[in-house]
């Protein structure tokens, strides 16, 4: 499996971005987007992009179980939904809304490199897998031992980066914050993760989600250095704990940060003024202005 995954990463990446390679890219942008994928590749694609939220016959995670999804809606609808879920919801499609409700308001993120053909292949693949006795995507196995305070502490350390991820992924604090984290909070590029466990639907879906984070931004970052099983457990522990603690609202942190920067700037300006205190400020004007006409030298 690992071997296939690696091969997948390389080959699709090459195919997917062949059209934007230097110079050739410039010419081919308006041309076709060639994609021919084997079943094996589609499986790998599914694992990379869908599996963190969906199982085939393993029950609901963040998103619905996709077993026999083709029976629920017609192919055209499904393709349209996969390509742009937000648009379907915005258009007020009743079934799309129902899905949204079932997912407690989590919208399926747009998937990188998705095309009409690709969506078709995935649906074909799901049909094949649904027909099997036991799909390879029935769901991952996670330990369900109770969390200990040590898990929470380790999760906190992983979140802030004090403990590094084994495969070298960046710490969560780079982009995410959790209430009550530390002084200026965590990053605000991504969403606030205080209630993430609740939003995603609990321990199991969250764990599955963390195996290969599927948002457009996170995916490329963690594609080649995913989280380890021993890291996911403490992280989930920390998220659940943080949700329970639910620290103070820290939405003023960016303002505090900005003001600190401003104060620092004023300090540095003062420093400049001191360093160059003897700078030339003009000779003639002060001389003429200050020189009352003396009667003798």
């Amino acid at each position: 499996m690992i071997g296939i995954e690696n091969k997948f990463n390389k080959s699709t990446q090459v195919k997917r971005y062949r059209d934007i390679k230097f110079l050739v890219g410039a010419l081919m942008v308006l041309g076709a987007f060639p994609l021919v994928a084997s079943a094996q590749e589609t499986a790998a694609y599914f694992k990379q992009n869908c599996y963190s939220c969906h199982t085939i016959g393993g029950g609901r995670l963040v998103g619905p179980d996709l077993k026999d999804v083709s029976n629920r809606k017609d192919r055209d609808w499904l393709v349209r939904f996969i390509l742009n879920p937000q648009a379907m919801i915005d258009r007020g499609d009743p079934y799309a809304k129902q899905i949204l409700e079932e997912a407690r308001g989590v919208v399926m993120p747009p998937v990188a490199g998705l095309s009409r053909d690709r969506a078709d292949q995935i649906l074909d693949f799901i049909e094949v897998e649904s027909a099997l006795e036991k799909s390879q995507f029935e769901g991952m196995k996670f330990s369900d031992r109770p969390f200990t305070p040590a898990d929470v502490a380790l999760g906190h350390a992983l979140f802030t980066g004090r403990e590094k991820f084994k495969k070298g992924g960046p710490p969560c604090i780079s982009c995410h914050t959790v209430r009550g984290l530390t002084l200026l909070g965590g990053g605000r590029l991504g969403v606030d993760l205080t209630k993430v466990s609740e939003r995603i639907g609990g321990r199991k879906p969250l764990s599955a989600w963390l195996v290969s984070p599927a948002t457009v931004t996170m995916q490329p970052v963690f594609r080649n250095n995913p989280l380890d099983a021993e890291e996911i457990l403490p992280l989930v522990a920390y998220f659940e704990d943080a949700a329970k603690q639910s620290g103070d609202d820290d939405s003023v942190a960016p303002l505090a940060f900005f003001l600190m920067g401003l104060a620092g700037m004023v300090l540095v300006l003062g420093l400049f003024d001191v360093i160059w205190k003897n700078r030339f400020r003009g000779v003639r004007r002060p001389l003429v202005a200050g020189g009352e006409m003396r009667t003798s030298i």
């Binding site: 160059w276 003897n278 700078r279 030339f280 003009g282 000779v283 003639r284 004007r285 001389l287 003429v288 020189g291 006409m293 003396r294 009667t295 003798s296 030298i297």
Partner: protein, 496 residues
């Protein structure tokens, strides 16, 4: 011994009448372009006065030149460390306010003004913005002591003068001043060259003229602050520095530089000096009081066979050596020792020398009578109206002895000539004076001749250019007029 040749200059201040012809000649040839309007590569200052730019000699403010520190010489404000840190804002660069805003007059108004009760006037308009301005200052705003309570009173050379001496300079009916024409000194140890981050400034090997490579200049502006004489100017339009080029296109074609050629008082001399380039740093590092002697010791005797041999070895053509042997500068500076470098304490080793000016005949008020007579033959030198200290600040690095020597010799020559032609001084006294002034009859005759009767050829002994060896010299000098800088094939224009 590393012999090099230098085209150098003597200005005989006793002959300067302050007519500014030199300035105009220079302006008409070189600095009548946009961006150079305010530059006066040649200017004539009244002393005492604050000069151009205002109080340029005040190095506490302008921080130009070199200073001796921990046994070696450093640029005062433009050494490498400081240039790197100060490259974004040069903290010792004067702005246009300290020179002047160039202006012209709205002459058109004289023709186009509507009919009215008053005569139309031509109002001053800025040559930078084209807007009307209040003229506040000019290149010789304090000419002939104009506005002296402000300007003359603030001459930096007055430092160290007693109140009596200052009063004497200024007293009504005894008011005294002299002129101080200035061009680039084409120094041996130029601060501008040393400071340039781009290496755009250079000294020409053949004749020592200091130039700015216009294609390499990037407007880092350090030369402007580095030059203690403020003789590099920033062209605000092209974003390049420019300076006096000693009319090298003229010199190369055997003509005297324009300011020299046009000089009405014939105060200017030009000729070659041979010097030892290996000893420049050592000499620039001497204590203040030894600088003038050290500077002189750099200059080599062009008649010395050793020097001639070394010059040949260094590729200096025989014709240049021959020219150096006839150089009037060598006579003034080395043989007669009456020409002195300006502000040697800046340690740039200037190669333009000044013969200090004599003051008007002395009159000392003693009680109610005015006393003209003294037993001391040189009393009017020692008690000159222009205090010796003032001249020493300008030409002696603060030390009076060298200035006194030059003035005494000048006076002795005058009295000797008076004995010869007028006869109201006995030859005995004249010879005694020559003796006291370290001068011989032959030398006095020579000084007299080169001061009073000098022909064009005697004043300007221009070394022949060797065009066959030169690159820059092969172009028509007149092509260079109106162009920015020199040696351009593509038209100079301001960058985007």
């Amino acid at each position: 011994m590393n012999v090099r040749s230098q085209v150098s200059m003597v200005f005989h201040l006793d002959k300067c009448i302050g007519c500014h012809t030199c300035s105009i000649a220079c302006k008409n040839i070189w600095t009548d372009r946009k961006g150079t309007d305010y530059m006066w590569w040649n200017n004539v200052e009244t002393k005492p006065g604050t000069g151009f730019p205002t109080r340029w000699e005040d190095q506490d403010k302008y921080k130009g030149g070199w200073e001796k520190k921990n046994g070696s010489i450093n640029l005062k404000s433009t050494d490498k460390k400081r240039i790197v840190l100060n490259i974004f804002h040069n903290p010792h660069m004067p702005s246009m306010d300290d020179y002047y805003e160039p202006w012209t007059y709205d002459y058109q108004n004289l023709f186009t003004a509507k009919e009215g009760p008053d005569q139309p006037t031509a109002l001053p308009v800025s040559k930078i913005t084209g807007e009307q301005i209040n003229v506040e200052s000019g290149p010789n705003w304090d000419d002939d002591l104009g506005g002296s309570p402000i300007y003359a009173a603030n001459d930096p050379n007055l430092d160290g003068l007693t109140q009596d001496q200052k009063d004497q300079l200024q007293a009504i009916e005894r008011l005294v001043f002299f002129y101080f024409p200035r061009i680039c000194n084409h120094c041996l140890n130029p601060a501008c060259v040393a400071s340039c981050p781009s290496g755009a400034l250079y000294k020409r090997g053949e004749d020592g003229i200091v130039l700015i490579d216009q294609k390499k200049c990037r407007a880092w502006r350090s030369c402007v602050s580095a030059c203690p004489y403020k003789k590099t100017y920033f062209n605000w339009f092209t974003g390049k520095s420019e300076k006096c080029i000693l009319c090298f296109p003229r010199v190369e074609t055997g003509q005297a530089p324009a300011c020299f050629h046009t000089c009405v008082g014939r105060i200017r001399y030009l000729g070659v000096l041979l010097y030892d380039a290996d000893r420049i740093e050592e000499v620039a590092n001497l204590p203040d009081e030894e600088l003038i002697e050290g500077h002189r010791s750099l200059i080599l005797d062009p008649h010395d066979p050793e020097v001639i041999k070394a010059a040949k070895k260094n590729g200096i053509p025989d014709s240049v050596v021959a020219s150096a042997q006839k150089s009037p500068i060598y006579k003034f500076v080395i043989e007669w020792r009456i020409a002195l470098p300006p502000h040697i304490e800046y340690r740039t080793m200037p190669m333009l020398y000044y013969v200090p000016p004599m003051s008007p005949v002395m009159a000392v008020r003693q009680g109610e009578t005015i006393e003209h007579v003294s037993d001391n033959l040189f009393h009017d030198i020692e008690d000159a109206r222009i205090p010796m200290k003032f001249l020493a600040n300008l030409f002696g690095g603060g030390h009076e002895a060298k200035v006194a020597y030059a003035l005494r010799k000048q006076k002795a020559v005058r009295w000797y000539r008076r004995a010869v032609t007028v006869g109201d001084v006995t030859m005995e006294i004249a010879k005694e004076m020559l003796n006291q002034a370290d001068c011989t009859v032959e030398e006095a005759e020579e000084i007299y001749r080169l001061t009073s009767l000098c022909t064009f050829e005697e004043r300007f002994v221009i070394p022949p250019s060797h065009r066959e060896e030169a690159i820059e010299m092969t172009q028509d000098p007149h092509e260079r007029r109106q162009s920015t800088g020199f040696g351009f094939l593509s038209g100079p224009r301001r960058g985007l």
